[in-house]
Point group: D2
Chain length 340, copies 4
């Protein structure tokens, strides 16, 4: 199942070292102004080689629109957009053909599907998120004045303390605290020296969300957001509103909180979400792995990898939230007098 959403449906496709990756967005209403640059701008935030702390794989990740847009406006028909793979050095991966990389999905994929594109993880590669970013870019346009801004709150044991929204896109970490960003960069460099990688926490602010999104039972807004964000491979936790802190709150306190969601439905107030992101599993140090005969072997993963995935995961997290909101925005009317 590679389709996300019910009304605003994003069908993602493509393998890391295949011909192309992309997405088909179906259900986007007609008449939305949309240009290639709206898409490319977001892909550029996700692409490799942005800074010293992202993989140097040289992919321009150039988008091409195949359908659904005419005279710079959506037609109400499916919007197909693709990105061709260019710098796919498949040779690097030949020697990994029979080895299951630690922290990766190689082994389970081989078992579940019987047949696997071992080159760079195939569909289980982070390059899969290109389709998400394409879908999210269109969702963001549809959301108009609602803004979804993700930023780095924690790397390792360093916590951002300030929230300066203008700072976010100015540093490679997309951290809203300039000084803490520098400390985080130092920690990352240190991890790189140790041929290791770091994890952290990303916070997502949904500013000025539409009112009345989400439904009272299974389709609570928080449920849909949690599903969306946990579908990103590296994410290990989700919290919103008072989050984990509710464990030690009293009813009289918690009742005073404004969480932006009540009974599963958006109130129009801002929503704040945090997700924990695991350290990149591809590290340069020698590790023990299993091969496809079940034997333990030593591997050193040479490829080109990110010492921390957070800055490139940020546009993906935003995209997932945008897709959820766009999807719910297109829900049928909730009362009968709203019908045409």
């Amino acid at each position: 199942m590679n389709t996300f959403g019910k009304n605003f449906r994003v069908t993602s496709f493509g393998e890391s070292h295949g011909t192309a990756l992309g997405a088909v967005i179906d259900g986007c209403p007609a008449g939305l102004k949309l240009k290639l640059t709206d898409i490319q701008k977001e892909l550029d935030r996700r692409k490799p080689g942005q800074s010293k702390i992202t993989t140097p794989r040289k992919e321009k990740d150039q988008a091409e629109i195949l359908s659904g847009i005419f005279e710079d406006k959506t037609l109400g028909t499916p919007i197909a957009i693709i990105v061709r793979n260019k710098d796919a050095k498949s040779k690097d991966y030949k020697k990994l053909k029979n080895i299951f990389r630690p922290g990766h999905a190689d082994q389970i994929w081989e078992e579940k599907y019987g047949h696997r594109d071992y080159r760079g993880g195939g569909r289980s590669s982070g390059r899969e998120t290109i389709g998400r970013v394409i879908g999210g870019a269109i969702a963001k346009k549809l959301l108009g004045k609602t803004k979804i801004i993700a930023h780095t709150e924690v790397v390792g044991n360093i916590f951002a303390e300030k929230f300066n929204i203008k700072e976010i896109e100015k540093n490679p970490l997309r951290c809203a605290d300039k000084n803490k960003a520098k400390e985080m960069m130092e920690a990352i460099k240190q991890a790189q020296k140790e041929k290791d990688s770091l994890g952290g926490i990303v916070r997502i602010e949904i500013i000025n969300p539409p009112k009345y999104l989400g439904e009272p039972v299974f389709e609570k807004l928080q449920a849909r957001l949690a599903e969306a964000l946990l579908s990103i491979g590296a994410v290990r936790s989700f919290e919103f509103g008072s989050g984990l802190c509710v464990a030690d709150m009293k009813g009289s306190e918690q009742n005073l909180e404004k969480e932006g969601i009540s009974g599963g439905i958006s109130t129009g107030n801002n929503i704040s979400i945090a997700i924990a992101v695991k350290p990149t599993p591809s590290i340069a140090q020698k590790q023990q792995a299993l091969n496809n005969k079940g034997k333990k072997v030593d591997i050193e993963i040479k490829g080109r990898h990110d010492p921390v995935i957070i800055p490139r995961l940020i546009p993906v997290a935003e995209a997932m939230c945008a897709m959820v909101l766009a999807d719910l925005l297109l829900e049928p009317p909730s009362f009968v007098s709203q019908l045409k």
Copy 2:
């Protein structure tokens, strides 16, 4: 949208003070042994009046099977099961008709739907979870030797330290640590005295899960579990595997973890999940509320409420996880030679 799942579909219905609540389970294969007691047993774990720390509302929550079962086996047809409301003291709620209770969905519901059953929250009441527990009971049967066991890990600032699985159903808190359970009970009694309520953390162990559940992109097992659990009203966070701790782990450490899920797919190893549960919003102390004219008013909620919702949320959390697993168990074959 009151249907959960794609293959194993549970459609829930019913309001707190309506005629009946229930669920229709569609997609359950034929030939599964199923008796009324399989359902009733789970409903009894959820029902009010189980102990001093649950609401004294006297509902027997007696299930009736309307369809789908013949000679104690499923027919492959929809299984409809209902629970009639008995002890629905609607009068208690008349005076709340025009007042929006703090921490409840009253106001947003009124705004979104225009028309509302104000008696006990209607569909936004915790009684809605009866349908979930019914669906989960059948899912559990389908899962056979996979066990899903939820227990109280934290109440307020008291943490369980031991994990004695046999202890769980012996104390009112469903806590696996007998002594800590006693401390938690004391804390709850204290909160009750203060006309207040407490929150906490529930841990869910999925023991002996089927292999290969979940899919690599949007339908990762953790995404589906997160959605399922965050759809329970009081839940504010979700974590699995290394959870929040990944923020301060290195790649070399995290790669060694066995989380039971790899690349979104179950490996067959046990899976451990934690969710934070907010304190019950219905408290007896005087609170400020809004009425439907937008004016602030003081209210004291008299009804019959739980000082901590965790023990009754536990069967609901288990049910949601069971439904996710059953749903994914029924996914089509992943490779072509598995086709009949």
Copy 3:
């Protein structure tokens, strides 16, 4: 899969000789005026024992509303409605336990599901349509001034020639031509004498349909209507607009036709549909059947059966069309300026 529709979703349940049949209608907007009589009125048109040409099985088919309606208006929550089985003479069927009735789904059901409620066909009985009629009754209310009127156009080789809309509910056949209805009745009596049954053609007029229902590719309005009507067991054909006649029309002629649907989308003009209905398979004459050992046996079906099913199929056909229209009426807006 016992759910019909995407936005207006009707989940049907129940076996012919089980405890109860019914439906849960989810996605109906809040604030729609709805009374039990709106449902009962349609069930009464479907129920047995209406006339000499319907089975004398004495079922009052009394509906009970379990949820979703408060103060005679829908709440926007799932509407659950049930009908209990009363006159279920299961004994009549005991002797058919191991025999597969000709023209019925007994054998294929046994093979596909392994386990079967042999009493009156279980879920494959025409009583299953009670859930459809309940769903359709609510859909009709939602459709307001759109009227869906089905009537008998052909029985055997007798064709209605006049269309007098007021006549339809006045004769047992629901035929719009009073005199031809009498001829049809004679033909049916003759078939009854011969212990046989008759088929025919039902025409469905959709009068004053909402504009813009349906979508240009897979979800064309005619595709959805065809699926809906062919899901009724006895239906063997579907045509709309110029129908079969297009085979011998020229482009210059056909281009002038007003079919009410253009490019899959309703234009607001009336839509006319015809479906062919097979003769009832349960007949009193001796027939050859297979038993569950694969042997040929003679059977005489004693039960209580309809010599022609058309008059009771008419409310079901209307219900299916109503459910399609209601479902499409709730589709998201097709262009962006229609968004709130």
Copy 4:
């Protein structure tokens, strides 16, 4: 909604004169042998310029595989395949920008979506069916020894009388009766002279279908097939098994028929379906049309059009049936002992 199917999901995209058309096939199991030629072969049967009775628009309709296939086998990931538009003479259509062609969806599209690609009908063009043929080609591979063979049964008032399966692909009409095919060709030439077009009937034989496809209530096999075929723009009717003839059959006769479907479920016997196809609406003679100001204007459609669409619709009809069968083949097991 441009996705067809639940398990085997085909998402189609593309406009007649846009950059490319194509499809993403999701849910196809891993390990299926699949080459570009499997797709191209079917596209070639649909492409223009095959014979004198198809439009001379010169599109090679060359397929390119973007994802989902590795070493000539499916990966279990989405298969994206595109066809670029080459011979798109958009200029021909400029003058039709403000005119709604008779028998086309131009006007309703303009009204429903507000924004329209007027070049060749955009998404409402028959070129849209490229995505269907791609999906169907893969479905056919999955179906293995099940064969789906469509052929021309009627053109105008000429009926095929013989069924010689080897003849079908030998004449431009794909008619199984060689001599009648010649007569049909004459009739078409005559219509061309009159600047007009013809309709007819296509019969589809499903040979050696898998057993147990389809479900007893809403998802009857015939319902799914009817929906699939009626979603092809030119189709006006559907019948299967005894079809329309049931109107004049008796129960005792009809009970003896083998229709290949019983109670909505395939029995393994062959299934025969007929659909009526309207004459091509684009004809060269002068016609009256409406423009976007609501005025009547005369038009002569110059483009390049088919005098009968049937031979090119045949691979599309086969594709739709193949997609339905593939989709149902991937349904979850119907009884519990079939679970792994």
